[in-house]
């Protein structure tokens, strides 16, 4: 790839695409630096000064935004850790251990891939209401752990690791746990990173379940919180504040993207299993 020159037309098409993608973000960013009053008069004012940080100050001072941010971080981190732990253990089990009904159970896991959230959300709501799990962190985190995808993904990844490695480790006197912990698990780090990033992003961006489960504003995640702050649907006032909230909410995501760029690109390219 390096050194290969792209055709000028291709470069122009790419630039155009990038511009289209970037424009709304730049616009959001500019709006967030304008005072609400100035935008009320003319939303085109975003393209000229004066710019101000008052919207960000308002977030940090008055509102519940920081609480929502913390909630989102706790929920997304909890979901990510939970999914990684469960998927790794289950994936290892399905790929390497012999136990009764292994095939049947794996088929059930695969079937789980085909069940949309819409189909289970009502019974889940009732179940969680019965168990008193609404408006709690477990209530927000647990549904993420029921996803089949991670188990399926990690099973495939463990299966792709040559069995000779297990055998070498057994001959090296490793216990089953040492084999899992010191030999196989480290080899799945690329898969863990990919699965972790996607789980984190999905949990961070999830709107529907927190909207149902979290009804008190101190348990809102950022997505639900931001939507609730958007009281005037015509968006004639408070536009600057709203945009600042949006920018603020995307900072953690940006950090995740930058930190795990390599894994995300690799996962997108479909070469995660290698």
């Amino acid at each position: 790839m390096k050194g290969a020159r792209l055709h000028p037309l291709v470069v122009m098409a790419l630039l155009l695409g990038a511009g289209v993608m970037l424009a709304p973000m730049v616009w959001t960013l500019l709006l967030s630096f304008k005072s609400n009053a100035a935008l009320m008069a003319d939303s085109g004012a975003a393209f000229s000064g004066p710019y101000t940080l008052e919207n960000y100050a308002a977030i940090l001072k008055g509102s519940l935004t920081l609480q929502w941010l913390a909630n989102s971080l706790i929920v997304a981190t909890g979901a990510t850790v939970g999914v990684l732990v469960l998927s790794s253990l289950a994936g290892y089990g399905f790929a390497r251990l012999e136990f009764p009904f292994r095939r049947t159970l794996f088929v059930i896991v695969l079937l789980g891939l085909a069940v949309p959230e819409q189909a289970v959300i009502l019974p889940r709501h009732q179940l969680f209401a019965m168990l008193g799990l609404h408006n709690s962190y477990p209530g927000l985190i647990l549904p993420s752990l029921t996803g089949s995808f991670g188990v399926f993904f990690m099973t495939q990844y463990f299966r792709a690791i040559p069995k000779e490695l297990d055998e070498a480790a057994l001959l090296d006197g490793a216990s089953r746990f040492t084999l899992f912990w010191k030999v196989l698990l480290p080899l799945t780090f690329p898969a863990q990173a990919t699965l972790g990033v996607f789980t984190f992003l999905a949990a961070w961006n999830d709107y529907w379940w927190p909207l149902i489960s979290a009804t008190t504003s101190d348990r809102f995640t950022l997505t639900v919180g931001l939507a609730s702050a958007q009281m005037n649907y015509a968006q004639t006032s408070g536009l600057g504040f709203l945009m600042a909230q949006a920018v603020f909410a995307s900072i953690p995501i940006l950090v995740v993207y930058i930190a795990f760029q390599k894994q995300i690109v690799r996962a997108m390219a479909g070469t995660a299993v290698r």
Partner: protein, 365 residues
């Protein structure tokens, strides 16, 4: 009883038997090669010894202790895998230390042994590399290093040379020969390459059809193959097998009549070989040559000529269709399609009965 002892080891996968009552004794410090065609159960037998596979029945003893009931790590055995099986995320040093750490060997002892092994195998500069940064030959050495560092009582190697290119294979073969002088352990190597087995092993174990066909030194399996299978399998090109009948005996040695009529006076003791028995006469290429002008011999048609520079093999067909291989020194002038006369060194012929049992020539007393 020191050394390795296999007693009546049997194994089948589902309804397919792979090994049937295999018994074998390996002496301490002996270099054994398991030789056999693909699918003959060589790897399976090796893996049963290592504990990676459980036998359906039978026992495995090492240095007077029964080991088939133990876990693979507790048998005092090290194995070099066909694809090396180095831990990709660990450096060479960590790869070698892993087994010792699991065994609870003291840290400075581990360091000392790694330094020593790295020295012997000339991989000292590579200790901090990961396997992915190394060539196939280097990985092979690391795999060997990881095995010797455990100071095992028995080394197992599954097709150790099959992944290397021709040049490296020759060099590694020499290294394996040196390895056995450096370690105080028996070595068992699986191979389907008879040249490897012949050059390296003290004794060769030939496997086929779920059973050990023969155990012997390279010279024994070559000169006195236990049966028709071994005779065909060992030797390159292989022994020619000509259909014949026993014509009678002469001074206690049998004479055989080839299908096309010629009678050969062999040096095979008559024993229970009675006249009229259908047999096969086995002839190595070096015992078949082009007849001198005027000399009597077998008429044959040359089909293929294999010139190796210093010698030439002639693959020919006798009248009646039997195939025979002759050896001619030098480059030769015979061409495919030529009609030739072949002289046979009849006292060197082997006789195999229909059941495959071998009767070897014996020098006259």
């Amino acid at each position: 009883m020191s050394g390795l002892e296999l007693i009546d080891v049997s194994k089948s996968y589902g309804a397919t038997p792979v090994l049937e009552r295999v018994s074998l004794s390996v002496l301490p410090r002996e270099f054994i090669a398991f030789l056999g065609p693909s699918g003959s159960g060589k790897s399976t037998l090796l893996r049963i010894i290592a504990g990676l596979e459980t036998a359906d029945s039978g026992e495995v003893w090492l240095d007077g202790e029964r080991i088939d009931t133990r876990s693979p790590g507790a048998r005092g055995i090290a194995m070099v895998f066909q694809h090396y099986a180095l831990y990709p995320h660990m450096t060479v040093r960590e790869n070698m230390a892993f087994g010792l750490r699991n065994a609870g060997v003291a840290r400075d002892e581990i360091t000392r042994r790694i330094a020593q092994a790295a020295d012997i195998l000339e991989i000292a500069e590579q200790l901090d590399k990961k396997p992915g940064q190394m060539s196939g030959g280097q990985r092979q050495r690391v795999a060997i290093g990881r095995a010797i560092i455990k100071q095992p009582r028995l080394f197992l190697l599954d097709e150790p040379l099959s992944n290397l290119d021709a040049a490296l294979r020759g060099r590694t073969r020499v290294e394996l020969a040196q390895l056995r002088t450096r370690v105080d352990a028996a070595l068992i190597m699986v191979t389907h390459d008879q040249a490897e087995a012949m050059t390296l092993a003290d004794r060769i174990v030939i496997l086929d059809d779920c059973c050990i066909q023969q155990v012997g030194t390279p010279a024994e399996v070559y000169a006195r193959p236990a049966n028709a299978f071994v005779a065909r399998f060992v030797g390159s090109p292989p022994m020619a097998m000509l259909p014949a009948t026993i014509a009678g005996e002469e001074a206690g040695r049998v004479c055989v009549r080839l299908a096309e009529g010629t009678v050969l006076a062999t040096a095979v003791p008559a024993g229970e070989l009675v006249a009229g028995t259908e047999v096969e006469v086995g002839l190595r290429p070096e015992h078949v040559r082009l007849a001198a002008p005027g000399e009597a011999g077998l008429a044959a048609q040359v089909e293929l000529v294999e010139r190796l520079g210093d010698r030439t093999f002639l693959y020919a067909k006798l009248e009646g269709g039997a195939e025979i291989i002759a050896l001619e020194p030098g480059f030769g002038t015979v061409r495919p399609g030529d009609a030739v006369t072949l002289a046979i060194d009849a006292p060197c012929a082997h006789v195999f009965t229909a059941s495959g049992a071998a009767h070897h020539p014996e020098p006259r007393a």
